[in-house]
Subunit: 241 residues, 6 copies
């Protein structure tokens, strides 16, 4: 059996911390740490919906993603200064939005919008997955805020959602890649799973050699194991179950 | 057994036509039709590489994707007039590029670049998958052009690559969704597979309810069946095997 | 008498093909080939007008022009990726729009808009002229579609309009320049003429030495000859006269 | 015989003033007034050429055009604030550049560039034509500056160039349209002519009904008459002939 | 006592000329010259306010600032061509707007907007200060125009406002820096003062060594002296007091 | 004596915390809290300088400023998504850069650049001043990092620099405005001072009525008092004096 670069066992998550209520102004917020990766997630409630939903009686959940210029080893350009968001940024924020909408009853929200801002303070791999896991906490807290204000009558969240990356390291499936492992992995897959075990998103990419169906299933097995732990962290953070 | 909207059996591809050598100026080209979806793929060879590869002795393959404004039922904005590419466009062109690099020996190319332009003339679902399948033909022909000019010594393509979408329609897995089916599907997955059966990319998304592992495997089974046929079309188009 | 680069006689058009009804979704469409130049023209009907016409009871006809990146000998930048349309693109689409409005009774349209998209699939000189000639067919077919749906009561097109370029080659006037001839011509002029013989636009440019009034008249004479043939092609394509 | 809106006879220019040496820093400059239209033209010399001319031993002349926001009856958007130049602006600056290059021996310049900035201080019709006429003076003075500094050995300007607009007013050809006349004209044509009588650019546009060949020739006749006077003003401004 | 680069005494303004009514179309206008610096200021009245003031019964005064490309020693990029305004441009136009609003009774305006366009024709230092001083004249004249049309009932300008730069040259405070002095000054401060002696804006910047409180007060003393003269020029330009 | 909105005495700073070494990857970093305002400052070292300094042997210090979308009471647009930085953002980052350069011996740096990124995590007034104060700590630590790596031989920081805002509340000068106080202040001034007591920047703005010279001096007196305390916090954070 090989030893992966981080020295963790193949099925070990990094150290996970979910800290709720960290942003003074936001209706819901959570700072998530997965090892050295640190993402600040805020949920902002607005009493209007995008044009395509006006008059529908239905709400909307969307996400924006950003990275502080020095979240990474070498400083990256500030996207606001460059004047546009990269393709990677847009791809990630679309994924976060889809993942959260998958467990939200948009009709139960009524015509309001919640924007999840996921800003990476420190990046060490797995930022999109950490964003989804942390954003669920922020969203849950924002809905609780709305319930307490009687803006909505029932909790629109139908289930939990969390995400984790897995990869193939020297042919073996390993859980929760850090940056160093990710850059050396043969394949890299992000899984977004619900508390009830359903698949919301699967994104697997071969970095070098293609991977096999059996390998895909091994990766999925690890992801189930990892998200199981993340669901417990989420429940603790919002004080349920 | 349900009947899917298109009336096709669950494992039937749409009518496929791959027409090579359709662009007068490009080093390689292919027009692909999958039912009513029609994409023009061209491969353009340039004797330079992006900055991060200069001096590496290695080549690069990249892709750009576009849609004519009236490829769709209602006219869309021209991205050049809006002044930026949408997140969807950028996500698709990154996928096409990764898929083709997965079967290319970049070192065997030497320091040159090939850009695959995939322009959708008519859209009826599955445009990103059709782009990958057609782009492989254009890329193969461009490499053949380079071989005939003695720019490269060996064929850098190591394998075939093709893609197809599958989805869940009333709980049943169906192959090669058209636009109408895609908008009604419960889940939608794009599979990029190699000729030898390896997985290059898996992108599965639940549109409504999450899907199960068993369903993911059913979708993958159909994708293997469909890409098997696409590989034969590709070989016929480039005149091999 | 000199022989022009293409070998055609001075008053010969390239081979012309106008193929109507080529786009599945558009209300009107036409693919035009002038020799190796190939342009796809679609007409899209929308039930609204620009702000300056709201409440006027009058319609609007406008055009957008684009070129696929590998329509040309060497690949050009994709304008959507660069984030703006070039001055050349904007100049051409303004010309196409003006030319078609010159033969349209905008009041007879009522408050609706038609956008002509002219996308160059292969470029070999004369793309703006081919766009105008092909767009007239697409516009005619779109109006026929509106008549058949009783959206309008009478045909708003008052006349035909077509365009052709002419140039001076070694002092002699020649008709319908291809790319090679255009780059060698001493002067280059585009003429937009109506079926009844009126001038809608004249754009003459000296590339090297200025040209004389007599030369301008020779070029205009050839343009009359060439557009006469193009008008017959247009009528055949739409099935009139 | 009809009376045109301005009350001028059909062949009368507006009052013309060409004031040279008006910009403190520019190598050449001229403020031109044609009636109420006022344009500031400056010529800036730079010791470098665009990439496509590097190493060619040849120079380049280009132009930029702008309009102060309140040059017009109602304030227009500042193009710098909107973040892009309009199609009209780009079309005009391309025309000015082509017109001046037509009378410049680019080889005699050596590898340097001159940029003509034409900024409209007050607009009352004919701003593109006034820009060309005034820019020639600025360019001439800039070349004289280069001669005096021994940067070039001979005057690269081979001829004069000037421009004027003409139009059809109630069927009659009239010279030098002001804004009010331009908006009422049946056709509008800009002619760019050289001192020796050659045509550099002809741009005729029917605003309503198409125009005839005979009308085109009447307009051209007036333009010869008008530019004849402008050439005298130019020579006086630069102190030749 | 040192001699400053311009040879002026330490408390001497450059030659000042305020020329009102210079723009044909604007409701108010003024060309201001401070030595070689020349700025054209126009005031444009519009019968609408920004969204945040709709329904408030209150008006708005804002400013835009620009510089002709060859206003400077070496030609600068045209901001419209670059596609964005620099930080310096935005900083200056915000300053001009704030300064004029400080002496305007926005309620007395009713719901209308006035935009001050300050375009630098020649730059030789102090352009932002000259813009403020000249814009006050343009604004005063625009309000007079509105009074004469009975659009407003009382003059909304409560006081005069003018600005001047001062600096430290070899330790000594000097008034009204030109470009050459500004580039050599140890500190540079812009003061915006009202006719009644109040401070509206103070912006002091150490270029090299920090400056002291005593030096700040010397600079302010000079600014009072200089704006006292500018107020007289303003009153003369608008024909009051 | 009035009571200011925050209940603090007129010369009381908010609670100040400077936390160094908070960013894993940056060469220097500091999180600064001034009451509820919280800014993350990182210093990134790069071994190159802007074009205008190449070959000069001199270094450069610059700053970028950003605000997380939900740092404020209501969510603001993400500047990266809007595609440009606001004028306010650009004005602030220019101020931060100038302030730090004022206490840096650029020659002692050699040809390298340091970029200070100041990202506001929570905004409650005074973010630009907090950015300067915190950025000095990050810059000091980055220089220490360079000294420890022998990239530079001597500490290029010549002095400390810190900033604080002051304002007039009901005619009385008060120190360190929070958001609520800032929005109600009659005047608002930012002072950037050095450890030795010199003035680097003074920016005073009357929000309503102009202010007097005596009031400006009162504000400056408070700023001296406040920055004195901030200098002690800075020294403690970097472990000197």
């Amino acid at each position: 059996m090989t030893t992966r670069p981080s020295g963790r066992t193949s099925d070990a998550l990094r150290h996970v911390v979910l800290e709720p209520h960290v942003a003074r102004h936001a209706e819901g917020s959570c700072r998530i740490r997965m090892g050295n990766t640190e993402v600040l997630c805020t949920a902002s409630v607005e009493a209007r919906v995008p044009p395509f939903l006006r008059g529908s009686g239905q709400g909307w959940v969307t996400a924006e993603y950003g990275m502080l210029p020095r979240a990474t080893h070498t400083r990256g350009d500030r996207e606001a200064a460059r004047g546009k968001q990269s393709g990677r940024t847009q791809e990630i924020q679309r994924l976060i939005g889809r993942s959260l909408r998958a467990v939200t009853d948009l009709k139960a929200m009524g015509e309001m919008s919640i924007t999840l801002d996921c800003d990476v303070l420190t990046a060490d791999g797995g930022t999109r997955c950490a964003s989804i896991t942390g954003a669920w906490v922020a969203l849950h807290l924002a809905f609780r805020h709305c319930l307490s204000k009687n803006v909505i009558a029932t909790m629109p969240l139908k289930d939990q959602v969390a995400a984790v990356s897995c990869g193939l390291w020297q042919g073996e499936a390993v859980l929760d890649l850090d940056y160093d492992e990710d850059s050396k992995a043969q394949a890299d897959a992000n899984f977004v799973l619900t508390g009830k075990g359903g698949l919301v998103e699967v994104q697997g990419t071969a970095e070098g050699e293609p991977f096999s169906e059996a390998q895909l299933l091994s990766l999925l097995g690890l992801a189930r194991h990892g998200t199981g732990q993340l669901f417990r962290h989420q429940r603790a953070a919002v004080g349920i179950g």
